[in-house]
C-alpha cells in the first residue's frame, strides 16, 4: 500500500516536471532544437574546428574546450578507486574463489582475446579525435580485458602496484601538460602544439596525447577497482 502510494506520488512529480517543461517557452521542444542561440554553435564553426583540429566535435569539447572537466572527472574516478582500496584493505588477502573451473581453451583463449582487446582499445583511444570513442571507452575496454583474465584464471592476480604507478604517472602527466600550457602558452591546458590538418591521425595538437593518458588512467583505475572487488579477507 505504501509502495503504491509512493509510486503514484513520484509519478505525479514526474508528470509535474514534464508539464512545467512543456509550459516553458524558452525550453525547446524535443527534436526541434535550434543551435544558433547556443554556445554549441561556435563549436561547429569552421574556424574553431580548424583551430582545435579534431574532426569529432565531442572529443574537441571533452578534451579541448572543457578539458578541465575531464581532469576533474578522472579525479573523481581516482578518488573512488582510492576509496575502494581503502575500504578493502585487509591484513591477509586472497583471491575471491569464483567456484568455477575454466577449461584449457578458455584459459589460453582468454590470453589471445586479451591481446585483441588491447589492440582494439589502442585503436579506439588513438582515433578518438576522428571517430566515436576515445579515452573513456578505450580505457574501459582495457579494464574489461583485465576482468576477462581474472574470470578465466582462478589464480590470476595482476600487479596492483603497477596499476597504482600507472595511475599516478598518467594523472601527473595530465596536470603537467596543463601546466606546460600555462607556461608555453597563456592558460592552463592550452594547446601548445600545432593542430595540423583536420581528419589526419597526427593532428589536433595535445588532444590525442591527453586522450592516451586518460585511457591509461581510466583503464588502470577501473582495473584496480575490479581487483579490489575480487579480493577478500583470508579467513584462516
Amino acid at each position: 500500500m505504501k509502495k503504491l502510494f509512493g509510486l503514484i506520488l513520484f509519478m505525479g512529480l514526474g508528470v509535474l516536471i514534464i508539464l512545467a517543461l512543456n509550459n516553458t517557452i524558452s525550453f525547446p521542444k524535443f527534436g526541434s532544437v535550434d543551435l544558433s542561440d547556443r554556445v554549441a554553435d561556435a563549436y561547429l564553426d569552421n574556424d574553431n574546428v580548424s583551430e582545435v583540429g579534431s574532426a569529432n566535435i565531442v572529443t574537441a569539447i571533452v578534451v579541448g574546450y572543457r578539458g578541465f572537466d575531464t581532469l576533474g572527472e578522472v579525479t573523481v574516478l581516482f578518488i573512488s578507486a582510492l576509496g575502494v582500496a581503502f575500504l578493502f584493505s585487509f591484513k591477509k588477502e586472497k583471491r575471491l574463489d569464483l567456484k568455477f573451473k575454466p577449461n584449457f581453451m578458455l584459459k589460453h583463449g582468454s590470453k589471445l582475446l586479451f591481446g585483441i582487446m588491447l589492440v582494439v582499445s589502442l585503436y579506439i583511444i588513438t582515433h578518438g579525435h576522428l571517430t566515436p570513442g576515445g579515452g573513456f571507452p578505450g580505457g574501459a575496454i582495457i579494464a574489461s580485458g583485465v576482468l576477462l583474465l581474472y574470470l578465466a584464471d582462478d589464480k590470476f592476480r595482476s600487479n596492483i602496484k603497477g596499476f597504482k604507478v600507472l595511475e599516478g604517472v598518467a594523472g601527473s602527466l595530465f596536470v603537467i601538460i596543463g601546466l606546460l600550457g600555462l607556461i608555453l602558452a597563456t592558460s592552463f591546458l592550452e594547446n601548445f602544439i600545432a593542430s595540423g590538418t583536420v581528419g589526419q591521425l597526427l593532428s589536433a595538437g595535445i588532444i590525442p596525447i591527453i586522450y592516451v593518458l586518460i585511457g591509461l588512467k581510466v583503464g588502470s583505475e577501473i582495473a584496480s577497482v575490479v581487483d579490489n572487488f575480487l579480493t577478500e579477507e583470508e579467513s584462516a
Partner: protein, 83 residues
C-alpha cells in the same frame, strides 16, 4: 520522423517496465541483471539520439563493468552466508 517516434516510444516504454521490475524484483541478482538490460536499452536510445560516443561508453562502462561490480559484490557475500 514517424518511425522514430514509434521506435523511441517502444524503447522508452520497455525501459520504464524494466526499471519498475528492477526496483520491485524479489531477488537481488535479478534486479542487477534487469539493470544491465536497461543499460543496454539506453545504448539503443543513445544511438537513436545520434550520440555514438556516449553509446560506446555506456555499452562498455554502464552495462559491462558496473554489472560485473554488482555481481562480484553479490557473489562475495553469498559465500559468507553459507558458512
Amino acid at each position: 520522423m514517424l518511425w522514430f517516434d514509434i521506435i523511441s516510444g517502444i524503447v522508452g516504454g520497455l525501459m520504464l517496465i524494466l526499471a519498475f521490475l528492477a526496483i520491485n524484483s524479489k531477488k537481488l541478482i535479478n534486479s542487477v541483471l534487469l539493470l544491465s538490460g536497461l543499460s543496454m536499452l539506453a545504448v539503443v536510445a543513445f544511438v537513436m539520439l545520434k550520440a555514438p560516443d556516449v553509446a560506446i561508453t555506456e555499452a562498455v562502462i554502464g552495462s559491462g563493468l558496473v554489472t560485473s561490480l554488482f555481481v562480484f559484490t553479490l557473489l562475495s557475500t553469498r559465500k559468507e552466508a553459507k558458512k
